[in-house]
Symmetry: none
Subunit: 192 residues, 4 copies
DNA sequence: TATGAATGAGCGTTCATTCAT
DNA sequence: TATGAATGAACGCTCATTCAT
């Protein structure tokens, strides 16, 4: 029976791994350190996860799910698509900036050979909401007629770079900068 | 005295490391394997590089320099900026697709904690040509008046996502897809 | 109070350990696996046995006892000693071949440092029936006048090698081969 | 290039493993202890052997080879077969008693699941001289007409038990005991 | 009794780095 | 320079054992 204590421990392990990897990368995040940070014995981790890789992959899926959920939070389907997209785009940026550990982890994972160990179907499932959101707008001729995969790559890729810019500390974005970023993206993808 | 043999060896080491990291990531690329692939003794690597990290960082700088150079190849300053930008954008995508190992290495590096070990000044120096190229166009009111850092992030980030899409094998881009991608980017950044 | 359920559990543990060790050896037979195969919790084993070593030793004594008992089954004291010995020798071989797990376990144990942890007196007690059987025949001048310990070693050692030969699958023994093996042993030990 | 130092180190590792396993068994002979006894670093072992298992198997083959060689030492083909066999049988016993570590290791190995990891062809190769020696004597009608595999099992199995008896300290064999043991074996296998 | 999550010492193994040659 | 055997700290992981329930 899963009780709250179980969840506490599994979550403590997830959090410790997230903390370490976001800061030091995969190969400087030993299981012994994860155990220490999670305040469990090294062996305990292996009751919850078969291996370090499995733990990392499970963490990726968990965070990616949460992330996708987050960026659609407060989506108001009554508004115009442009307004909804604006909300969506700024949400991506703002939420990532508020959760830098999650962002760094997801970025590292997605640009590492780990990604290819996740079945394609799983990734498709995770990203489905984003596809659906944008595809529909292509269909209704609100957005430019581009293959949705390219559209998603374009939007997410540009957003992700802007987040990194902010998090790197190189550049402090004001809200009007964010507004500019949104317009830049929107003018690119909208049907002209 | 540096002779051609020296260069051969250093390059062999660079190539071996590139090969391994692009395929297996930073961990899973042991120095012993690098030595084997480069056909030198393990100790020899340490005549050229102080440590594994230094080797990886040196490789990053080398590849990044080459990459920046490449994307400005055949830039014709007599053409309109739009034409020049189109060439630049397609060059980024096409060259990366032709050199997946380099692309994967640079991506991994740029999304890992390694990046923050490179002095900011060095990164600024490397990316200077891109900034100059775009900043000038902002100044001459060809491009939207956005902080150049955001502009660079936007352009490079969207391009990089599109490259990953193609290299992942999920989506085969035609040249008309590429053209669409260019227009999407251009319409976003151009002064309207 | 020992009830039938207790015996069931203890026996289930014994059987699981036997199964595992005969197949994978002492190492590669973790207690967690024993628990799983015996369908009890890991901790339960420690209600019946103080430690893994104690369990293994208890299993040895149990199986050795059963084995000695088995080889004297249907011993007919009215027959000639030669006939009784023939029955005894063939029984050793046939019963072992019918119970390979028990045979492999006993062999592994007897040739490992575990054996020396069993008190000599205990081993003497276990093997007593065999000594008595052969010693008496030495005394009555049916068998060659050799120290009984050597006699026992000779008979049991040769039988055990023949069993291993059969169980290894290298050689399929017919009943006439068995008869030959018996005569070989008999002609060696009988008083000439 | 293999020089004497190489051999020294490999041999030191072999000896350390032999020492430990003969005394404590496979699973109480950690590589760290082997390294300590061999006076090398833990990692050094892995320059010579891929894994612990490979080291153990290599040691088995080495010792088995040496053992087979030893038991035919000073075999005088001019003598009668009976005399040659007597020399052979006593040599087996005496050499094993003089080298208890080797004997214990070989016994443990041969009665463990390790044995089945050695290709059958390899084992056949190792035992060939014994087969040839006895088979020829069957052919020339000096020995009883038994399948040579059974003959070998019989001789080696009985000898091995007698050695264990002596090494266990339970029984001090005199040379006349040995002589008796030889006659017991000989009378069993000789053509009557 | 019975459970099984939790422990943590200790395992086999790897690998960045050194250094005698 | 170049070598590659040698190092040993540190890794991922196992597993006999314990203990709160």
């Amino acid at each position: 029976m899963k009780n709250s204590k179980d969840f506490d421990k599994k979550d403590a392990i997830f959090n410790a791994m997230l903390e370490l990897i976001s800061k030091h990368g995969f190969h400087s995040s030993p299981m012994s350190e994860v155990a220490k940070q999670a305040d469990v014995a090294a062996g305990t981790i292996y009751h919850y996860f078969k291996s370090k890789d499995e733990l990392i992959c499970a963490l990726y899926i968990k965070l990616k799910e949460k992330y996708i959920e987050t960026i659609f939070k407060n989506d108001d389907t009554n508004k115009t698509f442009k307004e909804r997209f604006r909300h969506f785009y700024l949400q991506i940026i703002n939420e990532s900036i508020k959760n830098p550990k999650e962002f760094y982890f997801l970025e590292q994972f997605a640009h590492s050979p780990y990604l290819s160990t996740i079945p394609k179907a799983e990734i498709t499932r995770l990203e489905q909401p984003v596809y659906d959101f944008l595809r529909k707008a292509v269909f209704t001729q609100i957005l430019r007629d581009i293959p949705p995969k390219i559209l998603v790559a374009f939007v997410m890729g540009s957003a992700s770079s802007i987040i990194k810019l902010q998090l790197s500390g190189e550049f402090q974005m004001t809200s009007s900068d964010l507004e500019l970023a949104f317009f830049t993206c929107w003018d690119g993808i909208k049907k002209s």
